[in-house]
Subunit: 441 residues, 2 copies
């Protein structure tokens, strides 16, 4: 019988408690599956005195994460502290340098320092597993690293932030404003007090950078991701999307183009009948386009104690079974610097909503300025002035700008930006234009 | 540098050719991902002379699968012959006995002899990988074996046969009969000349038995699966399902109940807004219900050369990286005989379509016989006599039986069968009743 795998766990919040609970509950099955027992033997957290649902009295309490990481009584260090800096970073480094394998759910740290940490893991022949860092219980890291490892990838896209998808789902279903939904999400605990990290797209960007590295063999680099959040999305955009056969989702997309790997996070119109459009509420989804066959889509809970613990324990299980995969799927020396495709050169369809001033020649001017940039229109929706988004008319106000909604054929980001700048300069629109990119698949 | 992993491949059909092609095309990436090169070095197939898209001249040709399996020039034996018997079985046995790891796509063989083969693999410390046996490119075996390995499972369900889903999708969309759709599917190459293995549910049952073993730690046993195919499904069933908010899918379901593990394959009504209901055409999907969080659903191509090759090459990659997992997730000694929940004791909702004879008291008799079995009705749809399924009325024929559609609340299979037997005996229905089980999730 192989000796038990001894786990040291730093961070005893919801996820940490769920990990301890799951390992205890599934002890027999885990032992059978791993060929050896898995035991949490030592822990640390900010406060030892804090009241917790789990009983930590039987566990060795270590004074701080770095001390735990190098404790001789543990084989694996599980980091559930979070944050791109210390103590998470120094503790993981200490564990790896001591030759101990690490399991972490820390997307921020990986998106920023993932490459250096992977190099350290490689040097000391330790595992660095992070299934829980992206999309909760969904085994997307394993799928890219192992399950689809034989393939070249064309595209990865996903709904990677439950808060944003929850807000967009409720906005769509209940015709609420972004601000109202956000306030409600905060009340219900689905959004943080400071929601900007989620709603501005940064959380999605970190996760996307990790997936892009795994899929395309590029160095993980959060700063290479173009990011746009969902706060500008208005109910009238969702209503127009619905009429046009689309839904709006905050997508992270990494795609191989002729100009390099494009990594971008932005509100996206996706066809209503696509798999990704069916994903509602806090659920996450990742669609993986390998060359040569139809996409594989993984859907499931992207957050929550139990879902995240599932990923953490699976990662621990792999270490128990002796599995060592390169953290980002290939040796660090084989990871390339991403030839970053600049966002200005992104090509695709666009949804554009303009508040056109009510003057003769307005539409002619708009049409001409778009044509100047060789932008062709797939459809045009001109609503009568003062149309209210949810049916029913305002008393006609003759001076109110008329919403004009345009769907373009594939064009470039550059062309759209130049055209809109020219339109604004012409004084034919009353407000900043709304632009939402379209993905057909 | 570790020596290359030498692959011997038996069976050079669509999948075999795609495997050779993929390994050649992704040579550099595979080497980086696996830490060593992967090379197909020897092959065998029924005919050496047959014209093929791939060039086998550079490969060692071995006279038969068993000789290839024990060839000293190979490290891994890839079996793509198919069939539950020889030569596939004896070749895999020979490879394992020689301590060579095996990769196979052979669901029939695994469903029948999986346990014995797993024991052989265990004894000789060889891997037995079969990602390609279930759901093509979807990494569901890996997900159950590793990605969600820390969890107890409540339920696995899936659309595991592309042919059936293709037929049901077209029947629903185009209001065609089963026979017409099947003939078309055969013309298009989506169904075999002898389609019974697919449409009668046996293919799904084999795959389900494999997944159930992985999820529940039971001995794989195809004969424990209750099987019912899709040939009795009529357009009027799909139309009624649509009206009632359901779609009909051929599902494989393995679920933990108080009476044991229930394994069943049958046409199933699933709510239209469920993830599984969105899966159309030849696409496969598996939904995995682990205890403690929302289901994880994997969707993707379940067949085809490239999709299947993706799974085969990923399995080879795991072997190249030195990963050894127990074939069914646990050592054979830990796999339990499934306490099989008998189908008669299945509990759930039912859709029942009756051709009620037009006589006073018919409905009262039906209602009473259902009540005798304590079956409560959630809804009743009585169509007027001679109603045509697709709108428009036949000239009323006063003697034609009137279709009555009943949706029951949760009841037992036993109760339904007894009630229908009594109803038939009463002579108040003109034809065999149609029964479709309902799954709410």
């Amino acid at each position: 019988m192989v000796a038990p795998l001894r786990v040291g766990l730093a961070g005893l919040g919801t996820v940490g408690a769920a990990v301890i609970d799951l390992i205890a509950r599934e002890r027999a099955a885990l032992t059978a599956r791993c060929g050896r027992a898995v035991e949490v033997t030592a822990v640390t957290a900010r406060s030892k005195a804090k009241k917790r649902a789990i009983d930590v009295k039987k566990l060795k309490w270590v004074r701080d994460p770095v001390a735990l990481a190098t404790d001789p009584d543990i084989d694996v260090f599980v980091e559930l502290i979070g944050g791109a800096g210390d103590p998470a970073k120094s503790a993981i480094e200490a564990a790896l340098k001591a030759g101990k394998s690490v399991v972490t759910a820390n997307k921020a740290l990986l998106a920023k320092h993932g490459l250096a940490l992977a190099a350290l893991a490689e040097k000391h022949q330790a595992a660095l597993n992070f299934e829980a860092a992206v999309a909760g219980a969904i085994p997307v890291v394993k799928t890219l690293r192992e399950g689809l490892a034989g393939n070249a990838f064309a595209r990865i896209s996903g709904i990677l932030n439950g808060t944003c998808n929850y807000i967009l789902t409720r906005m769509e279903r209940e015709k609420l404003s972004f601000a109202d939904c956000l306030a409600d999400a905060q009340k219900l605990g689905y959004a943080e007090a400071d929601p900007s990290f989620d709603v501005d797209g940064h959380d999605t960007a970190q996760k996307l950078a990790i997936l892009a590295s795994l899929a395309f063999g590029i160095k993980v680099d959060e700063s290479a991701v173009f990011v746009e959040g969902i706060s500008s999305i208005a109910p009238e955009d969702l209503e127009a999307a619905d009429e046009l056969g689309y839904r709006v989702k905050l997508l992270g997309v990494a795609v191989r183009t002729e100009k390099g790997i494009e990594q971008r996070v932005h509100p996206t119109m996706v066809p209503k009948d696509s798999a990704i459009a069916q994903v509602m509420g806090v659920t996450n989804a990742v669609s993986i386009d390998a060359e040569g066959f139809a996409p594989v889509t993984l859907v499931g809970p992207g957050a929550g104690g139990n879902a995240t613990a599932s990923a953490v324990v699976a990662d621990i299980g792999d270490i128990a079974r002796g599995v060592r995969a390169a953290p980002f799927g290939r040796p660090c020396a084989k990871l390339t610097a991403s030839r970053q495709a600049p966002m200005q050169r992104h090509e695709g369809g666009y949804y554009i909503r303009l508040a056109a001033v009510d003057r003769p020649g307005t539409f002619a001017a708009i049409a001409r300025l778009l044509a100047d940039e060789k932008i062709s229109l797939e459809s045009i929706m001109q609503r009568h002035r003062g149309a209210r988004p949810h049916g029913g008319d305002d008393p006609k106000s003759p001076d109110a700008p008329a919403p004009v909604i345009l769907i373009t054929y594939a064009t470039s980001e550059d062309a759209v930006r130049r055209a809109l700048k020219a339109i604004r300069k012409q004084g034919v629109i009353a407000d900043d234009p709304q632009v939402i990119r379209i993905e057909k698949n």
